[in-house]
């Protein structure tokens, strides 16, 4: 996984609460493989009309935000379905960070597995950043993960992220490599548990 330390880019405000993973990537694209590039399908039904034309009022279609690397949104971003392809869609489009007051738990977990930063701010701060971007769409936004700060114009905000997720992103840690160090502990747990909870194994089928 790629490390995340600092990022400066244009930020696209999408001022909707509960922007669920069905909106980020509609279910019919879940058959795709990663090689097909999920970026094309990001926010598909919000971004394109039934004939596949750009919806001009969707922020990501505005000239200033077509190459956004940051998305700013409202509460509960990424709630709903556990589809990791929602994170692939953001990442493949070029987005490396989502700023929002809160995130769906599963989405936030998937994000960290793929090097996408979820930066938590207050409702008020998210609204303020979105307002600044509405005024000056091309305003560069800088995220510093080490300092946990967002620089937007002449304002600096602190953001929240779980310290474990922060460390993972900073170091580009891979879960599997980490778990490898605990092979013996896992084996010991399994042996003990078999005695402690014999009922936990599925009954043998004839």
């Amino acid at each position: 996984m790629e490390k995340f330390t600092k990022l400066t880019g244009t930020a696209c405000p999408i001022n909707q609460s509960n922007l669920n993973t069905d909106q980020i990537l509609p279910a019919r694209f879940l058959k795709w493989t990663r090689a097909m590039g999920f970026g094309k399908a990001l926010f598909h039904d919000l971004r394109f009309d039934a004939e596949g034309r750009d919806k001009s009022d969707f922020p990501l279609n505005k000239p200033a935000w077509r190459n956004a690397t940051i998305v700013v949104s409202a509460r509960n971003f990424g709630c709903g379905s556990s589809r990791e392809a929602a994170v692939y869609a953001l990442y493949d489009f070029g987005v490396r960070c989502v700023i929002a007051p809160s995130f769906g738990d599963i989405f936030a977990g998937n994000a960290v597995q793929n090097g996408l930063l979820t930066a938590g701010v207050t409702d008020q701060e998210a609204a303020e950043i979105m307002e600044s971007l509405a005024q000056m769409p091309e305003l560069p936004v800088t995220l510093d993960l080490d300092q946990q700060t967002i620089r937007c114009g002449n304002r600096t905000y602190k953001f929240r992220i779980d310290p474990i997720r922060r460390m993972r992103l900073l170091n580009g840690w891979d879960d599997l490599a980490l778990t490898e160090n605990y092979r013996d502990r896992i084996r010991a747990f399994k042996a003990e548990d078999k005695i402690k909870r014999p009922w936990a194994a599925p009954r043998e089928q004839l």
Binding site: S17, N20, D105, T179, I186, W199, R203, Q205
Partner: protein, 470 residues
């Protein structure tokens, strides 16, 4: 003396292999369910040429893409056929037991797990599907995960997690007639919001929860994710133990006695502390329907759709306008005046035998004014319903009686609500486009969907009950 523990603490500590200094724990996984959508994770295994660590604890179920109509052996759509075949191949390659299309036990993974006795109290269960929270109904710690985590569980039999906060939702009192677990959970979500339980594991407690059947508890825990919860759990009790008796994969004889002794100790101890507590009065719950595009947009059936002009918060007013606009509902319209185009009875939320019985009780001897599909939660549920003659009631009412699968809840098998159409649905998500691009979804209980079918509009099932029991 030890701190009094909640069921959440007990389930957590029973699975903790190691806790790192930074607070993250490696947890042992007792059951891992995979489905067609798990192909990304199997791909990661193939990349690393890795094996499945615990094939005997891993079970495959074909549900997300399976057809509910037409041939299930020669699937017409090549993409869908490929998705099902891929799962078969991956399960065969790794020695994973699969409940595939030709298996009489096939169904929706969250129906099949409990039905087969694979899901048990005290287990930690994961699946690459957010509605894995369903299994908490039996007193398991069960949660949905993404593809990278699915790959990790496949390769190690374990998962890294940080312990969530503990929340208790207590529902006390007597449920009025015609009110079901679906109404309870929609009332909870409406009350705490779609992110009201984010970061929390939720225990559902109180006399009204204790009084629920297993099916009702499964519906309740199923939708805990719609309030943002990591998982939902109900302490196992006599109802749970009775449900598990003689299930194929559940323990029997002295092993069962031993298990029940252990399971009985899982309950939250008196005075154990929760991080959050919420209470609800069961007696005050009316039949509930959603009007908007989030499960939190839920109101009692005798209410009216909100009016943005009466909303003082401008952002909330904007949200209401957009949701009502998408749903094609005039502000302030009485919910019972909203005409529907279609009904769907199915999904991991509400397609178990009791759900079908409740819908059939309302539909018996009546005709549906709109077309609709009934997709049983599993092939075994389908057979049971046919033995009871429920299929005849649905067919005679004019509804289609299909095979089992995720079907029109997520629409990826081709069962879609058309653009602009309005569907009364027993499913779990009324998100924009969830049942198909442009589809308008109203969530409600099976009995309420039946009432909508009979009247052609959202309706109060209590007025159609007479001496019928749901």
């Amino acid at each position: 003396m030890n701190q009094p523990q909640t069921i959440i603490d007990k389930l957590w500590s029973a699975h903790e292999i190691v806790r790192r200094d930074d607070g993250e724990s490696l947890l042992w996984v007792d059951r891992h369910y995979v489905h067609e959508g798990s192909f990304h994770a199997f791909g990661k295994l193939a990349e690393r040429r890795a094996a499945v660590a615990e094939p005997a604890l891993t079970y495959g179920v074909a549900d997300h893409y399976v057809p509910t109509r037409g041939s299930r052996h020669n699937i017409a759509n090549p993409e869908i056929s490929r998705m099902v075949r891929q799962l078969e191949e991956n399960c065969a390659k790794h020695g994973i037991k699969l409940f595939g299309l030709d298996d009489p036990r096939q169904g929706i993974v969250h129906v099949v797990g409990p039905e087969q006795g694979l899901t048990l109290p005290g287990l930690l269960i994961v699946c690459g599907d957010s509605h894995t929270s369903t299994h908490g109904a039996l007193g398991a710690y069960a949660f949905g995960i993404g593809a990278s985590e699915v790959a990790h569980v496949l390769m190690t039999g374990t998962i890294w997690q940080k312990k969530p906060k503990r929340m208790r939702v207590s529902v006390d009192g007597l449920l009025p007639p015609g009110i079901s677990a679906k109404d309870i959970v929609l009332a909870i979500i409406a009350s705490i919001g779609a992110d009201g339980a984010t970061g929390c594991a939720v225990e559902f407690a109180g006399s009204a929860i204790r009084a629920l059947s297993m099916e009702g508890r499964l519906t309740l825990c199923n939708m805990s994710i719609e309030a943002g919860a990591r998982c939902g759990v109900v302490a196992p009790d006599a109802t749970t133990f009775a449900y598990l008796k003689d299930r194929p994969y559940a323990p029997t004889g002295s092993a069962l006695d031993q298990a029940i002794e252990a399971w009985s100790k899982l309950a939250t101890e008196d005075v154990a502390a929760f991080d959050h507590e919420v209470g609800l009065d069961a007696g005050a719950i009316a039949p509930i329907v959603t009007w908007g595009t989030s499960p939190q947009d839920a109101l009692p059936i005798d209410a009216s759709a909100p009016d943005p002009r009466c909303e003082s918060n401008p952002e909330r007013a904007q949200y209401l306008r957009e949701a009502l606009d998408y749903m094609g509902i005039t502000p302030g319209k009485r919910l019972t005046q909203i005409a529907i185009d279609r009904v769907f009875i199915g999904s991991c939320t509400n397609a178990r035998i009791e759900d079908l019985r409740a819908a059939a009780a309302v539909l018996a001897g009546r005709a549906s004014r709109v077309p609709g599909l009934v997709s049983p939660g599993s092939t075994l549920v389908k057979r049971q319903a046919e033995e009871e003659g429920l299929d005849r009631i649905f067919r005679e009412a004019g509804l289609e009686w299909g095979e089992s699968g995720c079907s029109m809840c997520v629409g990826i098998n081709g069962d879609l609500v058309r653009p602009g159409e309005r569907c009364a649905s027993t499913t779990n998500r009324n998100f924009r486009g969830r049942q198909g691009p442009g589809a308008r979804t109203h969530l409600m209980s099976p009995a309420m969907v039946a009432a909508a079918a009979v009247t052609g509009h959202l309706a109060d099932v209590r007025e159609l009950l007479g001496d019928r029991k749901v």
